[in-house]
């Protein structure tokens, strides 16, 4: 056997982990080779050193210390199955939640896409509501309705423009009414509007009131409103808008029909030869033309209404503060009572929302708690 092969097997040889033949071969080699013998002895000596390291003894109280730990361990261990069940349950609940959310989301998106073709119909319902129902909706909300209407256009072809009239009534209290009036002039200039009428009166108590009817291009209606709102203390505001598209185009088609009628009447007129016919036709033609005129003026009115919005403004000058004696009138107690009930209302409202919020968040809180617990358990 070669030295290098023997060296490789020396350690297993020392450990007697070789087959019999190899053991014999190596022993034979070691008997004849001084170098390998030296290596063998050094390794064997190292092994003996390790073997002879005196073992440590555990401290006497080890048994007691361990005993305590084992009891604790058993306690924890017995509780563990329940904990594990909780963890599993938490995981199940979590996955159900996630799945239901995912499902919901999926359903919503498919619903949306399947609903799209129907939107024309639903929009039609919407519009009838809008024209008959309460119209005090905020401009913003209205706008969203408009946009959906615009998209659907209720089956009318897209060339039709929606006809919407907007008007607002605002009353504002401010210190200097005259200054307010000047500001309104500026606003009307800024938005290319005009003041249709103004009136001013002063009450006995010295309160000045200015009424202004302001016309503002429909597109800038909302901006003008927000500008005006910032002028002073808004006491009252009401914004109306109504959709007159249907009536508008109805009238337009009527005009068209009448115009056709007019044309055919005129043709008849040319052909007519006897007087009574001519008179009859003329009579009819007059009728048609008056109708056309009246419809056209209606259209004109509507056009101006939809192009320019009306804002009815009332400026009130702030009431000059009365003497101290007046402050503590019966109004004072009313105010105090009002304040009390108001704040109570706010308080209960808050409580209500808090409870609703808590109920709303409860499943999530439980879920998070369970996941946390489960995570801790798994980590253990």
């Amino acid at each position: 056997m070669e030295c290098y092969a023997v060296r490789r097997l020396l350690n297993p040889y020392i450990d007697e982990e070789l087959d019999e033949k190899s053991m014999d071969d190596i022993q034979a080699h070691l008997d004849s080779c001084e170098d390998c013998k030296l290596e063998y002895n050094e390794l064997l000596y190292t092994k003996r050193l390790l073997e002879n390291t005196p073992p440590l003894e555990l401290p006497d109280n080890f048994g007691d210390m361990l005993h305590i730990k084992l009891i604790e361990g058993r306690k924890n261990n017995r509780r563990k199955p329940i904990k594990r069940m909780i963890a599993v349950a938490a995981f199940a609940v979590a996955s159900i939640f996630v799945l239901s959310f995912g499902f919901n989301f999926l359903m919503n998106s498919t619903k949306l896409s399947s609903k799209a073709p129907l939107s024309a119909k639903s929009a039609a319902n919407y519009s009838s509501e809008a024209s008959t129902g309460g119209k005090e909706a905020e401009p913003k909300l209205k706008n969203s309705v408009y946009s959906s209407l615009n998209q659907a256009n209720r089956g009318l072809d897209s060339g039709y423009e929606r006809k919407i009239t907007k008007d607002a009534t605002i009353s504002i209290e401010m210190n200097s009414v005259d200054e307010g009036y000047n500001k309104i002039l500026n606003i009307s200039k800024q938005y290319n509007g005009y003041i249709e009428s103004t009136s001013e009166n002063t009450s006995e108590s010295g309160q000045k009131t200015v009424n202004i009817v302001l016309k503002i291009p429909a597109d800038d209606f909302e901006y003008a409103i927000s500008n005006i709102k910032s002028l002073g203390d808004v006491k009252m505001i009401r914004i109306n808008s109504s959709d007159i598209t249907e009536q508008y185009y109805d009238v337009q088609t009527r005009i068209k029909n009448l115009e056709i009628q007019e044309e055919s009447l005129q043709n008849l007129m040319k052909k007519a030869s006897n007087i009574s016919d001519i008179l009859q036709i003329e009579d009819k033609l007059n009728d048609v033309q008056t109708q056309i005129d009246s419809y056209k003026s209606q259209i004109k009115l509507w056009d101006s209404m939809t192009n320019m919005s009306t804002i009815n403004l009332t400026f009130l000058s702030a009431v000059p503060q009365a003497g101290i004696g007046k402050i503590f009138s019966e109004n004072f107690f009313k105010d105090v009572l009002n304040a009390g009930t108001k704040s109570l209302n706010v308080f209960f409202e808050f409580i209500k929302y808090a409870i609703v919020m808590i109920i709303y968040l409860l499943p999530f809180a439980i879920l998070i708690y369970l996941i946390y617990k489960g995570y801790k358990l798994l980590k253990k």
Binding site: N11, K47, P55, L58, G63
Partner: protein, 185 residues
């Protein structure tokens, strides 16, 4: 009661039976852990941890291997976990050889310290293999089972570990002489 009966009772949660079973292994386990981690306090904690783990998980012991081997396995894994956590926290390996005089080396305690410090210089896998083989006297196949590796790996680990240990010990001034002296005895 023999070990199997005691283990059966221990699996049902009987602490005393468990304690009876481990009584004969306690010191072995403690020593293995001590050699691996290199200090008594940690070794004591880890020994407790090992037995606690063994007790808590005793139902997982199916009797496929010897109980002792199973305990060793837990001890080795626990120690390795500990070493991994400790790594980086402290990298203190006091080098004893720097201030040794040849006379000191005859001192048994010194010899033990040197061996410990040299063991600590080995890679964990090598160290564990050589500890289990030479200090604990386990067979290659037992070591393979404990360290969850095959016999070939164990063989090469022990071989390399012992050779490296030998070379390192020879480098220590004075130690080589003892080698030579003792060899002739």
């Amino acid at each position: 009661m023999d070990e199997r009966q005691l283990l059966f009772k221990a699996q049902e949660g009987d602490i005393e039976s468990f304690e009876n079973v481990i009584a004969s292994y306690q010191n072995y386990i403690y020593n293995v852990i001590y050699r691996i981690v290199g200090n008594k306090e940690d070794a004591l904690d880890l020994t407790q941890e090992t037995f606690l783990k063994a007790f808590v998980n005793i139902k997982k012991f199916k009797g496929k291997s010897e109980f002792k081997t199973w305990l060793y396995r837990i001890a080795v894994n626990t120690s390795l976990d500990f070493m991994r956590k400790r790594k980086g926290v402290e990298e203190q390996l006091h080098d004893i050889s720097d201030f040794k005089t040849p006379e000191d080396i005859f001192d048994d305690k010194m010899t033990r310290d040197i061996i410990m410090s040299e063991l600590n210089k080995l890679k964990n896998d090598y160290k564990i293999a050589i500890i289990l083989r030479d200090i604990e006297g386990l067979t290659y196949s037992e070591i393979a089972e404990i360290t969850n590796s095959n016999i070939g790996t164990v063989k090469s680990r022990i071989s390399r570990a012992r050779s490296a240990l030998k070379e390192n010990l020879k480098k220590i001034p004075g130690f080589i002489n003892i080698f030579d002296e003792r060899r002739q005895l």
